[in-house]
């Protein structure tokens, strides 16, 4: 991999939140990297720390949270040492973000036009007329009909799908290098989801922008990701190119997640779906061993102690488990055949 293409480098990113019961280690030593024009999906169940990871990248973690990392580098910028002011300049310009619920990320008291024009004027020395021109171009590009009159409308006057298109347009105003998308299609209909994802993919290849896409939807991940990071209980448990992750998942948690998904045409209709027994452990306090051990079919005594080393199938496919790739492949096959 050419170093020149590297856009984002994250190493040992942790977010600790002080609570009444002790320190909650919400994100623990997360590391990944991203190249230009690449799509990285962060996948995991609720509470696994995927959203907080994205917020922490941008320095938007909650006030009572403490962020630490050994490397947090975006292109030529060290994000760890930037002042709030320079971070503010970076956000919305070179790094943009879109969220799940478009209604809450728009200000209900201002028109769409005011809000989108403001984005460009914050970051570039342009006139209102020029910014409006750029907004209209983008509206057209993201498939918003009657763009002129949309500028005068308020967020509540638009449907969920339109609002999300609006936010995509807004995120692209400054031509970002990196787009962080946190479950942007989860609240939408499947038809609108498909249209928006195609649009994002097109825009991405047009603009050469990299994307971090956060979701719990594994089907969606398979369709858009280049690389996938699977998080569990605040940690990265597996990281691999998309085809390796789906065809050769090596962490028992990833294997479990993939197994419990009903897939039309291959899961027996009305049959029992495998599920992952147990619940996510508490993230409060000190932590030893593998965080998945209580729910893992293959856990042994060694899983409860010390730091779990990273195993790897090749240099691009890593997983946090003591078992060898061969052991986990055999384990998966055994569980699969036990089910049928």
């Amino acid at each position: 991999m050419a170093e020149a293409a590297r856009l984002l480098e994250v190493k040992d990113l942790s977010v600790d939140i002080a609570t009444a019961d002790g320190v909650l280690h919400a994100v623990r030593n997360v590391g990944f990297s991203l190249n230009r024009s690449e799509t990285l999906c962060i996948v995991g169940e609720s509470g696994c720390g995927k959203s907080l990871t994205a917020l922490a990248l941008m320095g938007l973690q909650p006030h009572r949270a403490r962020r630490s990392a050994s490397i947090l580098r975006f292109d030529d910028v060290d994000l760890l040492t930037q002042s709030p002011k320079t971070m503010r300049r970076l956000r919305g310009d070179r790094i943009s973000m879109i969220f799940q619920e478009p209604m809450t990320s728009l200000n209900p008291a201002f028109t769409i036009g005011d809000q989108i024009i403001d984005v460009l004027r914050q970051h570039r020395d342009v006139s209102t007329a020029q910014a409006r021109e750029r907004a209209l171009q983008l509206f057209d590009r993201v498939g918003i009909s009657a763009p002129q009159s949309r500028l005068r409308q308020y967020p509540h006057e638009l449907s969920g799908g339109l609002r999300q298109r609006m936010l995509i347009a807004m995120a692209l105003m400054c031509g970002p290098d990196l787009l962080l998308a946190d479950e942007p299609t989860t609240a939408l209909d499947v038809t609108i989801q498909a249209e928006l994802l195609r649009l994002l993919a097109e825009l991405q290849s047009e603009l050469g922008m990299a994307m971090i896409f956060i979701t719990h939807d594994l089907g969606l991940v398979s369709r858009i990701a280049d690389r996938v990071v699977v998080m569990y209980a605040g940690e990265v448990v597996e990281s691999a190119p998309v085809e390796n992750l789906f065809e050769d998942p090596l962490h028992p948690y990833t294997q479990g997640l993939l197994a419990c998904l009903p897939v039309p045409g291959s899961t027996p209709r009305m049959g029992r779906l495998p599920s992952i027994p147990g619940v996510v452990p508490s993230l409060i306090g000190a932590h030893t061993g593998c965080s998945f051990r209580d729910r893992c079919a293959f856990a042994v005594d060694a899983c409860a102690t010390g730091e779990i080393s990273i195993g790897s199938a090749d240099e691009r496919h890593e997983y946090r488990c003591l078992r060898t790739p061969m052991e986990n492949r055999t384990g998966r096959r055994r569980l699969q055949s036990a089910r049928t």
């Binding site: 038809t191 998309v242 419990c260 209709r269």
Partner: protein, 322 residues
């Protein structure tokens, strides 16, 4: 396993009055000429985009909303003639969001026991025994009796909601997106539970979801809704194998099954989402339909039967044996 119809909707129609200006109203036709039947043991999956009238239809089925026109028969008797209290013993409901559908001020035991109390089932010891039994049926430990909803996970709360729905031993449970708020591993557990309960208690379900993979897994019959109308209905396997309506084809195409690097399918759904206040002429799907014919703009299609599946589309006319 299709027995006799226990729930039947005949030409049901409902419109909401929407204010427009100071004195004028306009009608929003939420459900338009819907006829459906649910046979004993069936799982009827209702699919369609948001705003297509799914929720209005569910409220009508539950007797919570009286339709402008049409009849709803529960066990052969019109629900309009039945008391709310009697209906509740036959048809119950599970909602999407287990965070807002449970009263946070009541303990789990009290939530599950409330229907029994209201309906005066047994004495208090009998009711307490029944609540324990219900928790056991849905796979919750009885030590949770005194817990409150906030102390439970999303999956556990949905189990509480299911236990509450089962309390009066209904024959039908209407499920409105019961797994959309849950994680996939928990979703699998809830789907397994619903299927077990159907087998053990001979329940029938009306199951609304926008997740077609889930509907495909659990439903025996499907009804596809578009702008207040049922555009396709029939056996689930048949519809998933050979969807008859262009809209159903688009819905099925938009399901993102795991397929690395396959990209997102181009679903070719033209135009913007429809406005239910302004229903298009002819076939209401024609402005967005990729297979549109000239006749579609002017003439509302009748329902044609193709291999047991009912399809409201001009394209289906050619294959109708009649």
């Amino acid at each position: 396993m299709s027995g006799k119809a226990i729930l039947e909707l005949r030409h049901v129609e409902h419109a909401f009055k929407m204010r427009e200006g100071l004195f004028s109203h306009r009608a929003l036709q939420a459900v338009d000429d819907v006829s459906l039947s649910l046979a004993e043991g069936d799982v009827l999956g209702v699919v369609g985009e948001s705003g297509c009238g799914k929720t209005t239809l569910l409220r009508i089925m539950l007797g919570l909303l009286t339709p402008v026109r049409g009849d709803i028969l529960l066990d052969g008797a019109p629900i309009a003639d039945q008391k709310r209290r009697d209906l509740a013993r036959k048809i119950q409901m599970i909602f999407q969001d287990p965070y807002s559908s449970l009263n946070p001020r009541r303990s789990i035991g009290s939530i599950v026991g409330q229907p029994l109390e209201i309906h005066g089932v047994g004495d208090s010891t009998e009711r307490a025994r029944r609540v324990r039994e219900l928790l056991d049926v849905v796979g919750l430990p009885t030590r949770m009796l005194d817990n409150y909803p906030t102390q439970l996970s999303g999956g556990q709360r949905q189990r509480v909601a299911i236990a509450r729905a089962l309390a009066l031993r209904p024959r039908i449970i209407v499920c409105d997106e019961p797994t959309s708020a849950l994680d996939v591993s928990v979703q699998a557990q809830i789907l397994n539970l619903l299927l077990d309960l159907r087998r053990d208690f001979g329940l029938s379900y009306v199951f609304v979801s926008h997740n077609l993979a889930v509907v495909e897994h659990i439903a025996t019959r499907i009804a596809v809704m578009y702008l207040g109308r049922i555009v396709e209905t029939g056996n689930a396997e048949d519809i998933f194998r050979r969807p008859g309506h262009p809209y159903t084809r688009i819905l099925l195409k938009s399901v993102l099954t795991p397929a690395p690097r396959a990209g997102v399918p181009d679903i070719q759904l033209g135009g913007a989402a429809p406005n239910p206040m302004d229903i298009p002429s002819g076939c209401r799907f024609h402005p967005r339909c990729p297979e549109v014919l000239p006749i579609c703009a002017t003439q509302d299609p009748a329902t044609f039967e193709v291999a047991g599946v009912h399809v409201a589309c001009h394209l289906a006319r050619a294959t109708d044996p009649k």
